[in-house]
């Protein structure tokens, strides 16, 4: 299947494997390829128009509109009043809102860092093996990705529940004293939610990294061995740098997923107990649709969006900087 490797043969004049830096691909600069397959110039807009229209009206436009709303105090019914940056001041100063962003950081540890670390560890174990049946394992490990978060939440509420498998397991080995309602515990609810995220994401990271290590030429490992490198040095010098691209993808996907958490919190904990599992999207929902503080909700949404852009940008930057490959 050639779908996943677009660079190359008949590429319409773009340098093979180019990362398309802004402004490089303007047509007039081409010398040879003037009559490139990329035939008519104007008709392209016609092909783009419907997709762009839907995107601008129903996705990008609303994003801009949200930003506009964030400068108002509005209950969703009466006329709103312009309040400038007041909502943003509140986002920064309100302890309840601030703690929701802190919860997001905790979730990033569970959704992104833990699965990636786990994935790397496993990939490094498997470096020297040629495992058969990878397809089967890949399909199984990937399964959690396909299941609706609402369903995932229901399954885990049962697992964490008073009479669920975890507590029953503890009782069976004589540790019944530790049994509790995990999602009802002020200190443990957030890590418990986080571990559900770990479960959803670890397979994705593993699948990515295992695919990645199979592309590393064995000669690199032979060279490392000749240099007398141990397992740990080998991991740092060969495996980790070679998996940089995969690591960036995995970190971006999982971190964004962590920051956007909503369904899981809505179904499993409703932000509770107390406010121990509130997350920004939960506050967006609550403020915009339950308590009529639409402007504040919009401000939270905008801050969340900015954070997500910053994270995506940073991860790409950090990963692209290293020139070893």
């Amino acid at each position: 299947m050639s779908v996943s490797t677009p660079a190359g043969v008949g590429d319409t004049g773009h340098p093979a494997g180019a990362r398309a830096p802004a402004g490089v691909t303007e047509a007039p600069r081409l010398k040879v390829n003037i009559r490139a397959p990329g035939e008519p110039r104007r008709v392209a807009y016609l092909y783009l128009a419907p997709a762009l229209l839907f995107y601008l009206v129903f996705a990008f436009g609303p994003l801009i509109y949200t930003t506009w709303l964030s400068f108002f105090k509005w209950d969703g019914i009466t006329v709103g009043t312009w309040v400038g940056l007041d909502n943003y001041n509140q986002v920064l100063s309100d302890p309840a809102i601030r703690s929701s962003f802190v919860h997001s950081l905790v979730l990033i540890v569970f959704y992104a860092l833990l699965p990636c670390a786990l994935g790397l560890f496993i990939a490094s174990i498997m470096v020297h093996s040629r495992v058969r049946g990878v397809g089967f394992f890949r399909a199984v490990l990937f399964l959690p990705q396909t299941i609706a978060t609402v369903v995932v939440a229901i399954a885990w509420v049962w697992i964490y529940g008073q009479n669920g498998p975890i507590n029953e397991g503890l009782r069976a080995i004589g540790l019944g004293g530790l049994a509790r309602s995990w999602l009802g515990d002020f200190n443990l609810a957030l890590p418990a939610v986080g571990l559900v995220g770990t479960w959803v994401m670890f397979g994705l990271c593993m699948v990515l990294f295992i695919a990645g290590i199979q592309k590393i030429p064995t000669s690199l490992y032979e060279a490392a061995r000749v240099d007398g490198a141990g397992r740990w040095r080998e991991f740092l010098a060969v495996t980790l740098p070679s998996l940089r691209g995969e690591l960036a993808v995995a970190l971006t996907l999982t971190t964004i997923f962590a920051l956007r958490t909503f369904d899981l919190v809505y179904v499993a904990t409703s932000g509770g107990p107390g406010s121990s599992t509130t997350v920004p999207s939960w506050l967006v929902y609550q403020n915009a649709f339950a308590v009529g503080r639409v402007g504040l909700a919009a401000a939270v949404a905008v801050v969340l969006t900015i954070i997500i852009f910053a994270v995506a940008f940073l991860i790409t930057r950090i990963v692209d900087r290293d020139p070893t490959t």
Partner: protein
């Protein structure tokens, strides 16, 4: 390099352990659904007399028939509309040159990462004013807009990977740009388009927040929304019934996944790996 036998065994062991971890919650909820409420299941238990009666009861009580149909309508429409729009746009980006191509492409790329949670607020209030809330359109239209960036991105990668000579030859034959797309490129594009449809269908099927915000009528609920409300009401009184409902909602996607898992996995990664 010789493959170390011990490492081989270790690798299998590690993979097996994690495969079990991935499967456990799913198997656990399925087994729970096969019990009767009177079994008072605790922990992990295999039913003595598996029953499908919970499924029927959940189906009737929770109105999942209409929920599944609504989800099918929404996800099907979104997936097909996205496929059409994204194929056209991807064709333009992938095999034509025009002014502003990069700027437009980056504009679309923003759509790949921004949280759609941030668009829900104005969507709701604008739709309310024009009378679109509490209709399936309120779910379909925004989700086409949200899926178009991924679809375009994906189809652009496909069109860039097709040999330019093909397009060139067709052009020299005097074919219009649309004829080239229709007769030359589309016949090869089906695998890529199928992957896209499958992924967009899955994401739309599993979507929850938009439905929660937009839909008030019982009869218009999507399957995940119906499930969340059903679970809220029955979780503690009857876990087996809730489990059965959850299985009903997840099953259609899991069945598709079993048959098309290669497409799923390839698409998920390619969407992110490219550039």
């Amino acid at each position: 390099m010789t493959v170390n036998r011990r490492e081989q065994v270790l690798s299998y062991a590690v993979l097996a352990v994690f495969a079990i971890v991935a499967l456990y919650p799913i198997v656990s909820i399925m087994l729970l659904a096969l019990h009767r409420r009177s079994d008072l299941v605790t922990g992990f238990s295999i039913p003595d007399h598996p029953t499908f009666h919970t499924f029927r009861e959940a189906w009737e009580l929770g109105g999942f028939g209409s929920g599944l149909v609504n989800s099918l309508i929404v996800a099907g429409t979104v997936a097909i509309a996205t496929a059409v729009l994204a194929t056209l746009a991807g064709y333009a980006f992938g095999s034509m040159r025009f002014r502003g191509a990069n700027a437009l492409f980056y504009l679309l790329l923003i759509g790949l990462i921004f949280p759609y949670e941030a668009t829900v607020i104005p969507l709701y209030y604008v739709f309310r004013d024009v009378g679109l809330t509490d209709s399936l359109w309120a779910l379909i239209l925004p989700q086409i807009g949200l899926s178009v960036p991924f679809g375009t991105f994906w189809m652009r990668a496909f069109f860039r990977s097709t040999p330019g000579a093909l397009v060139e030859a067709s052009r020299l034959d005097g074919a219009s740009s649309f004829a080239t797309l229709w007769r030359v490129l589309l016949p090869q594009a089906w695998p890529a388009i199928t992957t896209m449809i499958v992924l967009v269908f899955m994401w739309t099927w599993n979507e929850f927040l938009l439905a929660l915000v937009m839909i008030q009528s019982d009869s218009l609920r999507t399957a995940p929304l119906g499930l969340a409300l059903f679970a809220g009401a029955n979780r503690y009184s009857d876990p087996t019934l809730t489990a059965a409902a959850a299985v009903l909602v997840a099953l259609p996607i899991v069945i598709v996944y079993v048959f098309l898992q290669r497409s799923f996995i390839r698409g998920m990664f390619a969407g992110a790996v490219k550039e």
